[in-house]
Symmetry: C2
Subunit: 143 residues, 2 copies
DNA sequence: AATGTCAATGAATGTCACTTTCATGATGGC
DNA sequence: GCCATCATGAAAGTGACATTCATTGACATT
């Protein structure tokens, strides 16, 4: 799926008349081969060891591009940093966030999604998106 | 319930050895008689007309005290400002947020809450809190 | 009522995570 | 290869908090 996302991004870029650069290639590769839910700072630091010449602003702008292209999603978990996670076409999930170690787990629940639709319908709301986050202690941190 | 919350706050303050001041009284009164989901800035501006001598920092610190005392809750709706809403003992609700006009509606759904518990249990997570927000167009903005 | 002590206030400043600017460098259509 | 555009990154700007510190105020005590 790494290849598929690279294609999606390449198509988006050419369709927008934007250019392919070494930096963007490196950042995309690093993003796709990293854990999910990375902050700009984290990705920047991860890149820095191998590519000290890539600036923070470029990482920042490139992650925005990923989001625009639909291969990444911006997330806020309340830790003061914007995080980016991988997105696959048509896929959706919500999150369990550990308040002690920061571990993030993903889940899907079709019934919850349906109930949300019902709530929105009953109020005349047209849903664009939603966020459901459960905060607490992960299995490890409970021990 | 305005009186009840004032009592809760007064008890919290005396139990913590903190002092009662004109500013805190005024801010509490203004907060309790305002719409829900106000930002610090909004409350500060609302106060400013009648009480131009109350500083931003005092509003900021006093809202934090309300949250500590359990009569207010900090919320992030992604508009870049922290919002505070009234909290009543034992009460919980989630939100529908209009992305066009900013209107915020509240809802409760016992079934969704139960399903969340199930999800957390199945992963060994111990829930501390959760947030569920549905973003979209409100009935008014759909017209 | 005056005093003493410690918390409260608010103008100013600091912090932090973006966000934008601008001079310089790279890309790619012709 | 030329050159109009786009991209880059160091530096500066922004905005919403968060903290500092000199001064003021609350209130228990005298
Ligand atoms: Mn995720
Ligand atoms: Mn609410
Ligand atoms: Zn954990
Ligand atoms: Zn609306």
């Amino acid at each position: 799926m790494k290849r598929a996302k690279k294609k999606v991004f390449a198509d988006f870029m050419s369709q927008k008349g934007l250019k392919s650069t070494k930096q963007r290639d490196i950042i995309l590769d690093c993003f796709l081969s990293s854990d999910r839910h990375l902050s700009i700072e984290e990705l920047y630091l991860k890149l820095r060891s191998k590519h000290p010449n890539i600036g923070y602003a470029t990482v920042y702008r490139t992650l925005k591009l990923f989001a625009e292209a639909g291969i990444a999603r911006e997330m806020q978990f309340g830790d003061g940093q914007t995080r980016y996670e991988h997105v696959s076409e048509g896929e959706h999930h919500d999150h369990l966030v550990c308040t002690r170690c920061g571990h993030i787990e993903e889940f899907e629940n079709e019934t919850i999604e349906k109930l949300q639709d019902e709530v929105a319908n009953s109020r005349g709301f047209l849903i664009e998106r939603h966020r459901l986050e459960i905060y607490g202690l992960c299995a490890n941190c409970r021990k």
